[in-house]
Symmetry: C2
Subunit: 304 residues, 2 copies
């Protein structure tokens, strides 16, 4: 049954289209100033890794968080593109045989399958590097202060104490299942840190006050947790056809998740509570925060 | 026969000791602000990859280039540490089985041997990310303008159009030997870009004029080329009985090098010419540039 997209879905898709157009541009031009040459095969692998049909939720959060404070939408889009490069680099590396060893992502061969392992490693490395390039580039219409803050925030969200560290804990979890606090920490790092960054980055792009920035950061933490709970719930309950990938995979590897520990009813109640908390955090902005709250509900309720 | 270290060697070692102390500090503290937790095993792998007894030539170039213009030595040391993190990340990833497949580096097991492949991938990723963290961190006493320029310069030197792209060309060279121009481009990217960055970064740290910055950049290009020629010459002449033939490890893999193409005499003449060019570029600074020129000679003449 086909259904009409909601206004929210249309907005999400419109932003994703703009983001993809920018990523296409960033991964076709070149060599840029200070670059010597761009190897076509490496560029193709980066494009394969990043132009993958994703929903582009993280960039959407940057854009809508910036919009809440009337931030420059073009600058927000560029920071969203940088963030998406970091997200996609992590997918390319996580899919490697030495890591999660996945051959398929979104119905397409993963980068090391479509190309080869060495190229996938370098494509991930280059996407991560490109992210910082995009933030600092003259085309990103922000002050040097904003760029410096964004570089630092992004590096902390992605590095040893954030996403990469979370992946390290995740690998360790295959050997020894973490306790509940361990699961919470792992997920706050592995998926939470970048989602938190997305929301905080929007506030930085818009030059929002420290209070506003702290609120968006906290909002990002809540929806980051909701994102992971919804993901793990899907993994626990959905059938492979809906998901487009092997389900039950994380659980089969012996990794604990909160839905696996507490069950579906607990998880759904927790998701409802997280949406309420998110709404409470943004309550001060009234109707202006409606899109962000709809994003929170979308994240918590998504079924694919 | 033991020989006394020269004044230059002592200076190089003193700076290396300062750099190692800073890297030790950067890879022991934590979690920092915005970080959630640092997985001990990942930190240990990063330390293994970076605290490897290297000569720290690249940071030395940052420090001495900054000193030429009376730049803040502490800030230069921090930018040197960031650069060393990028250099060492590239070694960790290049050593992986899918890349150059090396088990030993400087007499110690490589990171994927001492730990495992997944950890080595994540350690490299985290070192690269940490580099940008260090540049942007509040502890780095530079203006936001300088930090933004350094982030952009470093990203361009390390990414698709620089070091990572050079490694991609290097992998392709195993399948099909590049022509002479191809070798020059490959090496300008793979090893040249970071050495060029080292010299230019010193000028940025010191807030030097555009002319000074351009001079240091050009100096960096010359010694980057000298570095690679000396390296390839060493590789070529490692076995005297077969000198002049393609016998070294790179050549055995079918990779062309300029010394392999043109022979030892040509290479030595080229190295002498490069030192003369480097001296000419820095001539305007008179005796103040003596340390940098001694570094150029050291790079061109090193025999280990």
């Amino acid at each position: 049954m086909m259904t009409q997209p909601t206004a929210f879905e249309t907005r999400l898709e419109d932003n994703a289209a703009k983001l993809v157009a920018l990523l296409e541009e960033l991964l076709s031009d070149g060599p840029l100033a200070d670059e010597i040459q761009r190897p076509p095969r490496l560029m193709a692998a980066m494009r394969h890794g990043v132009l993958n049909g994703g929903k582009r939720l993280r960039p959407f959060l940057v854009i809508e968080s910036a919009a809440l404070f009337s931030g420059n939408p073009q600058a927000a889009l560029r920071i969203g593109a940088a963030l998406e490069c970091v997200h996609c680099y992590s997918l390319v590396h996580d899919d490697l045989p030495a890591m999660d060893d996945d051959d398929v992502r979104r119905g397409k061969p993963t980068v090391h399958i479509a190309f080869d392992e060495a190229t996938a490693i370098l494509a991930g490395d280059s996407l991560l590097t490109l992210a910082f390039d995009i933030v600092a580039a003259p085309e990103t219409d922000l002050s040097d202060r904003q760029k410096t803050e964004l570089v630092l925030c992004l590096a902390r969200a992605a590095g040893i104490g954030g996403m990469a560290g979370g992946q390290m804990f995740d690998l360790a979890a295959e050997q020894q299942a973490p306790d509940e606090q361990g699961i919470v920490t792992l997920q706050a790092m592995k998926t939470g840190a970048l989602i938190r960054f997305a929301c905080e980055a929007g506030a930085i792009v818009a030059g929002a006050t420290a209070d506003d920035r702290a609120r968006l950061r906290l909002f990002g933490e809540k929806i980051g947790l909701a994102f992971q709970l919804a993901d793990d719930l899907l993994d626990l309950t959905a059938d492979p056809e809906t998901m487009g990938k092997a389900t039950g995979k994380d659980a089969a590897r012996g990794k604990g998740t909160l839905p696996a520990l507490h069950g579906q009813a607990w998880t759904e109640a927790k998701l409802t509570a997280l949406i309420a908390e998110a709404a409470n955090i943004l309550g001060v902005y009234g109707d202006r925060a409606e899109i962000l709250l709809e994003t929170a509900r979308f994240i918590a309720n998504r079924r694919h």
